[in-house]
Amino acid sequence: MPFSTRVACFVLAASVAAVSLTPVQAAVRPPKLPYQITTLPNGLRVILSEDHSTPIVNVQLWYHVGSKNERPGRTGFAHLFEHMMFKGSKNMEPEAHTSIVSSIGGRANAYTTEDTTVFWQTFPAHYLPMVLWMEADRMATLRVEDESFRREREVVKEERRMRVENQPYGRLQEIILDHSFTVHPYKHPTIGSMADLEAASIEDVREFHRTFYVPENATLTIVGDFEPAQALQMVTQYFGRVPKAARPVPRDIPREPPMTQERRAVVEEAWPLPAVVVAYHITYDGHPDSYPLHITAKILSDGQSARIPRELIYNKRLALSAFGSGNLIEDPNLFYAVAIVQPGKTVKEAEAALIAEFEKLKTEGVTEQELQRAQNQFARDYMLSRETNEEKAMHLAHAAVIHNDITTADGEFDIFMNTKVSDVQRVARTYFNASNRIVLHIMPKGGTR
């Protein structure tokens, strides 16, 4: 890469980094997140992390249930259920949760992914007892009323219309997943289908709470300005008496069989410009190969000078936007690259250019400079994504729930920094093969406008 005189001079002035733009990362290892982890007798896992820098606390309750736990014909249910958790519990009126958190100047929300459902609130530190009380109440008891259920189902249908159906490219992920999976529930989007949402019943709601919203399927994380012994005592007081589940949490999720040959499809959507997708099945989050895959995503896609934007947008001008990313989650998912094709160019050209980038990773590998750059970007993301209490809690809970190993919340930093160029090439050769590839052409209905 040519170097400007100005910046080169400047870099020389800061001589250490100039000589070896390579091993800068060795110097800074960000401070580790402090934590303690315990499990209550009813199975609830509790993670506490003190941080007195701002007088606020974040509480996150992760339930290890997401859209991959849904039964056929009930897609979208985990997320619909998440909404029902705001509809009141034994001692709480419907929507009182949101209104109380708001009245204490806090923020509360929830989200559902393929693997988990997360309820969180950030609030002034002295309200910790109140928030724990409210979370415990809705774990122990749920108020289920037919009318509020029906209304909430309409809200979720509007959410789907807004996020998916009323957006150009809103169905992109849904289309990719549907063509890539045959039996694993990752085939379905978390938001679910309109027909399945319509079919959901109030008995489904009760059953879901009994099955999955039990202490042994939950991890409570508290980060911020509090005193741990006191916090643990409050947690025990409010959550300790939530009964154990009557039966074990089901974990019978079908495995996706390996592909044996490339799959291709052409679909039509009401989108303004054609899109090309090149996807490969990969491994799960936390597998040793997952770290080089994260690095690969950075090298391919983070910033204008990363490989895919540089080639497809800057050099060849084939695409209006183009990116690649690894969807590393609890069960094996996909690494995919997408290009929105520039008017005047063809989907074939864009497909060839995307595949060429994956092939280059296998044949030529990546350079030390690219790896170094990706590691610096990673160090930045690592630090900037652990600034707020909410972010810290998210990393701790993710390590405990998805990796079942809380030490990865910090340990991953060293794994990333120790990744070698040979690792990147090795995983490219493992996963980016034609027999493991899905290629989609998504064409505008009625031709390009």
Partner: protein, 454 residues
């Protein structure tokens, strides 16, 4: 111990809120610098506020300020666009540019140990961008393609149309990205001229927040930006004043979107400028009306009716008169009902159902107790301080916020509602399926819907 979940636990008093000290400096070239020590994480954030945004676009060149800001990281000195991106990546830096109506903001955040290099890179980019013809034509083409895509994006269509309905051909009447005609007509020379007259140290403020002392932060700023010459461009003319009583031609406007699953809805009118003395009362009023999840509008449209995933109200603040708006995307079949219910809520808070003291307390508690959450990161702190410069607010503003909000009374909330919220002069804009929504909207008694293209 017995677990009693039937009674809410008792809570102590609220702690006082303190904002970190802001120290002001002026460099030899006139650049205003404000430093803030923020030590929780070893990162440093630079926010450079340049006085001049989309409202500075010349007539017929709407989008010029935004192209100029976009061109800033496309090369400087001997660095090409790709080199710049690479240099940022090697510093582990995050960079972005944001073009508002009144100002353009550049942000660079990097690890503390790269602070000086990050500052120098930002200064090189902003003060000496390469602005080459090939980069310009590539950036312009991407923007033209994006403008084409935006026609299919209902919220973007609604934003653009709403501004046009509010402001007409006033400089605030367009989005920063501009229009396809104007962007297509823009030349590289115009970008260079815009840069020359707008990007000047005397018309800019640099905020530096990070894990260093004030003296170190100032030194980093001075080494990077001290040599930026003030080449005496023209002082931008203030915008023509715009009254807040203007009554638009049509009460109800439809942008047709065949087969749309939802109607993207905006209801609003011009209201008041950011520096109004009623600002805090307006915030409290808005928190009751539609500023949060538990506010009246969302409770009605989402929780009671199930028409939408969410509805809210707010002010799109500017130095000049800003619009008040209500926004939601609602189910097509419920569009007219949602408009009727929304207008009824705007009317109610002015008199028939004024904010109650319970609502007022909830709104104030939410605004004040939640205030420290806005300042957790160095970036949040730096951006907040830049807002002070943008609106000419005092450095004590953040510390005074909580007591000022607490002092707002029910009467003041009613007064600002009556003065600044007026459904009778509001325009309702619906981006949606014309065939499905036109008749029901026409039956609302707001006159015949006017149809405008996207």
């Amino acid at each position: 111990m017995r677990a009693d979940r039937s009674r809410l636990p008792r809570i102590g008093p609220d702690p006082a809120f303190a904002f970190p000290e802001i120290v002001r400096h002026t460099l030899g070239n006139g650049l205003q610098v404000r430093t803030v020590e923020h030590t929780t994480v070893p990162v440093v954030t630079f926010v450079l506020l340049v006085d001049g945004g989309a409202a500075g676009d010349p007539r017929g060149r709407e989008g010029l300020a935004a192209i100029t800001a976009d061109m800033v990281d496309e090369g400087t000195g001997g660095l090409t666009a790709i080199d710049v991106s690479d240099a940022l990546a090697r510093l582990g830096a995050v960079y972005d540019a944001d073009v508002g109506a009144d100002a353009t903001t550049f942000m660079l955040m990097t690890l503390s140990r790269f602070a000086a290099r990050g500052a120098t890179l930002l200064a090189d980019l902003v003060t000496r961008p390469a602005l080459t013809e090939p980069d310009f034509s590539r950036v312009r083409q991407l923007r033209l393609d994006r403008l084409k895509q935006m026609k299919d994006l209902a919220p973007a269509v609604a934003e653009r149309t709403f501004l046009r309905l509010m402001y007409g051909d006033h400089p605030y009447g367009h989005l920063a990205i501009g229009t396809a005609d104007a962007v297509g007509a823009t030349s590289r020379d115009e970008v260079e001229a815009f840069h020359r007259r707008t990007f000047r140290p005397r018309a800019a403020t640099l905020v530096v927040a990070g894990a260093h002392t004030h003296a170190e932060l100032l030194d980093i700023a001075d080494r990077a930006f001290g040599a930026w010459p003030d080449e005496g461009g023209e002082t931008p003319l203030p915008h023509a004043p715009i009254g807040n009583g203007a009554r638009p031609g049509a009460r109800i406007v439809i942008v047709p979107r065949e087969g749309a699953a939802q109607s993207e809805m905006r209801i609003g009118h011009l209201a008041v400028a950011r520096n109004t003395p009623s600002y805090h009362a307006l915030l409290v009023m808005n928190a009751v009306l539609g500023g949060q999840f538990v506010s009246r509008v969302n409770m009605k449209l989402r929780e009671e009716k199930g028409y939408t995933y969410g509805a809210r109200t707010g002010f799109d603040w500017r130095r000049g008169i800003a619009p008040f708006y209500l926004q939601a995307s609602v189910h097509t079949a419920a569009t007219a009902d949602a408009v009727r219910d929304s207008l009824a809520e705007l009317d109610a808070i002015r008199g028939s159902r004024p904010a109650s003291s319970e609502e007022l307390e909830l709104a104030k508690a939410s605004l004040t107790r939640g205030y420290p959450r806005n300042f957790e990161t160095a970036q949040q702190v730096a951006r907040s301080v830049a807002q002070l410069a943008l609106y000419g607010l005092p450095d004590t503003y953040f510390e005074e916020f909580v007591p000022t909000v607490h002092a707002v009374t029910v009467d003041e909330v009613s007064r600002v509602a009556q003065q600044y919220i007026d459904p009778a002069r509001a325009t309702t804009l619906v981006v949606g399926d014309h065939a499905a929504v036109s008749d029901p909207l026409g039956a609302l008694g707001l006159g015949l819907p006017q149809v405008v293209p996207p």
